[in-house]
Symmetry: C2
Subunit: 489 residues, 2 copies
């Protein structure tokens, strides 16, 4: 084959391959979170990777980014299909399609990859995994509270310590109430609302000054790009900035402050009542201020949220007892009462939470919290004589029959390369059967972990060769037990 | 919202939603098969859902079908991407991309959905799940034998009984040898080879007559569609038909017959030697004629196979002791020594097997072998007084803390509808706390499974109401134990 016929062995940008432990860590997170969801009565669902493009709609968080988008394709009917960009839009389609036959309320959880046709970057991929729980058909705030308490339990279950994560909650209705109280109403809120919400959403990243600019005339970033602002006047901006910084000590104090800020706005008062009901249920479920705070700066970028909004973040407790330091978002959600109505025309209350599995596993890895995952490779049975392959396989099978992972070396190299292969496979033991062992009905076992340790410590090479504790001969009948003993060392 | 603004709640053809038990059954199959693969030393891999189209190549099994194809899309670089149609093509890309750094031989397993842009039909979907194991870098037949023995172990592990499945093996090299022996050589085999292979592949479906037509001038099917044939003469056709029916009693007898048929063809003899080596290893691993047969009619449609080919099928043992009756394919694989060379220019031997998870779970369901999967829903705590929600949540939490799945009813309906909901959720127990129970510090438990049974058997309604064994009151402190007792009934 000439080299110009060759195809490049490359994968698209923002797509990664994951091996062994990386996959195991993600499966651990998904199965642990999923087990919590199941214990709370959520039923598993799986939908296809793509939906009709119009069924998915366009609810991406970063609609204002120029390259934001979905991956779309056409099938042989020439209908447009899109890869799902989250697990909420497919749920809305499923719930609407099966609404009459579902037992309601419908609690479901779902996990799987989602795809975004966006510019990839460090830690930002075009395929990543989410693990969602949603309740469809619950109007009361207890439905939101349940989701938040369950998310806290799930994040604790995967091994995040107290103080290592936090949930921040607010309600879109309170923000709407504040907007009402500064003189915006109905249509104005629809028009200006998303711009204001997006500005508030950037508090963590841009600080108070940046938000102030985005609420006013607009903001030019370091690269010179200009983002137009919401065009509010100085008084309105001050009120909104007061609102986003309204968090006080605990949930109750913050609620009291928010009640002042929304004033007479009916929408704002409904939002405060909503958070108050969430607070009661959280308290009954033992979820304290340390785990779930009310933070009015949380708005979440997605257009479809209509009430409570939640954000989960990794945190470092602040040294001075102040607010914890955020290490980044690992999930979020909220109430979206209009999403099913796109299909049915009838408002169906819904609320949910999404764990960002890919971000969470990356964080666990950085925190060194992935140590529970199996890292040992299989026992490697060396293949020293090609005419003895059947026997080597029989030996490996004896180990597997007792639950010990084992393989026969199947390459074409000699003993030294085979030992190197065993090391690279992270094998705990190598099984060696040469002519001598065969004559004696025995096997030689090499404990590779101990071997590495001993080799690092030896001073006397002669002595080591004579009685190397990491290598010994044993009868075939005793082999499996001897290997198991090494594995439990 | 006016009805003409509504979006249809529908999903694309050939895409299915799966709920609860269906997902659990698939996960059971994948985790059981995967555990076997791991025990044989195969390392987990996950690649992205799509690859560059040219990296995937076009190796679909049914290249001769007009609508066969892949789903393709463009990213914002306007490069063509395709959803993977199997897990082998992405492995070839991965192995080529990482060839220098991989410990070789490289054994990997992978599971996940694959997509085909084909006409869907009964049991034929456009997204389905596979679970593959492949060995890259092994030239010897022991690598094929290992894959076959492991596949047999995996199918046994998921609960298929002896005689309930079978593996049929052959080698492309034997077919090539037979073609050589009828006078076709080199270039002819390349040209006519795939047509002959596809014809032989259809023996199960079309019978000897149909294959005879496809080897000769061609065949018109019931709908009048004409498939052109390989154009062989009568003598050649007779020889090939003799070959495809060459299976005799056990593997050894079939090998002897095949050795006669390939005659002096070097390629054919190499194929017979290959199968002979596979036979030796299978025997050493305890895989008998009843589980793995040699059947020369197995060729597999994929163009990329170069040596051994395998097919796994569900079977019913024949009543008269003859060949078992096939209930359809549940997996297959073979040796493909040229796939990595597309990228690297160097031949890399490789062999593998793919379990058709979606087909297998459908078959398990039909066989009624999915009974091990959890079917019970959560305990449902009724919500009779809206101002007691926090208390209901605390009760549900007591159950969850002891590992019992539980949920609070969060809809807006009354007691009768709540009980109906509990039934539809397949709840084992309903927890009822009304005013009376609250006053007494107790709960009423309703055993819904026993209740259904008792209700079906009762003759005396008055008596049943008086001492219904399926409903009783217990103290709050005793609730969790009482629920657990019901669950273990």
């Amino acid at each position: 084959m000439s080299s110009q016929d060759l195809v490049a062995a490359a994968k698209p940008r923002g797509i990664i391959d994951r091996r062994g432990e990386d996959v195991a860590l993600e499966e651990y997170v998904v199965s642990t979170v999923g087990a919590v969801y199941e214990r709370w009565g959520f039923e598993r669902l799986e939908t296809g990777a793509f939906e009709f493009s119009d069924a998915l709609g366009k609810h991406l968080p970063d609609q204002d980014r120029p390259n934001a988008g979905v991956f779309s394709l056409q099938d042989d009917d020439e209908r447009w299909l899109s890869l799902r960009y989250d697990l909420t839009a497919p749920l809305a389609r499923f719930a609407a399609e099966n609404w009459t036959s579902l037992a309601k309320p419908y609690r479901r959880w779902q996990t799987g990859p989602v795809w975004r046709n966006e510019k990839p970057g460090p830690g930002r991929f075009r395929q990543f995994t989410q693990c969602d729980a949603d309740t469809v058909g619950v109007a009361q705030a207890a439905g939101d509270a349940e989701i938040v308490a369950m998310a806290a339990e799930a994040l604790t279950a995967i091994g995040l310590p107290d103080g290592g994560f936090g949930l921040r909650l607010s309600s879109r209705r309170i923000l709407n109430g504040v907007m009402e109280s500064i003189g915006l109403s109905g249509g104005d809120i629809d028009r200006a609302g998303m711009t204001v919400a997006r500005a508030v959403d950037k508090l963590d990243r841009l600080g108070v000054d940046g938000v102030e600019q985005l609420l006013g005339k607009g903001r030019k970033d370091e690269s010179g790009d200009f983002t137009p602002g919401a065009g509010l006047d100085t008084g309105a901006i001050a009120k909104i900035l007061e609102f986003v910084q309204a968090e006080r000590g605990g949930r109750e104090e913050t609620l009291a402050r928010l009640a002042e800020l929304v004033g007479d706005s009916a929408e704002g008062r409904a939002g405060v009542e909503e958070l108050s009901a969430i607070h009661d249920i959280l308290s009954a479920l033992g979820v304290g201020d340390d785990i779930a705070r009310f933070d009015p700066s949380i708005v979440r970028g997605l257009e479809y949220y209509t009430g409570a909004v939640f954000e989960a973040e990794l945190t470092l407790p602040a040294a001075d007892g102040g607010a914890p330091v955020s290490l980044g978002s690992i999930g979020g959600g909220g109430r979206y009462d209009d999403l099913v109505a796109r299909f049915t025309g009838e408002r169906v209350p819904a609320t949910g939470f999404s764990v960002g599995v890919s971000r969470l596993t990356a964080a666990l890895r950085e925190l060194g919290r992935d140590s529970g995952i199996e890292t040992s490779g299989p026992v490697v049975v060396l293949a020293l004589d090609r005419d003895q392959m059947a026997d080597y396989f029989a030996v490996a099978q004896m180990l597997r029959a007792e639950g010990v992972a084992a393989e026969v070396y199947l390459g074409a190299s000699g003993m030294r390369a085979q030992m190197k292969y065993a090391d690279r496979r992270n094998a705990p033991v190598a099984v060696i059967i040469g002519e001598d062992e065969r004559a004696r009905g025995s096997v030689t076992l090499k404990d590779l972990k101990l071997g590495a340790k001993v080799a690092a410590e030896i001073t006397d090479h002669e002595q080591w060769r004579k009685d190397n504790p990491a290598q010994f001969e044993t009868g075939r009948g005793e082999m499996v037990e001897a290997v198991k003993k090494i594995l439990t060392r």
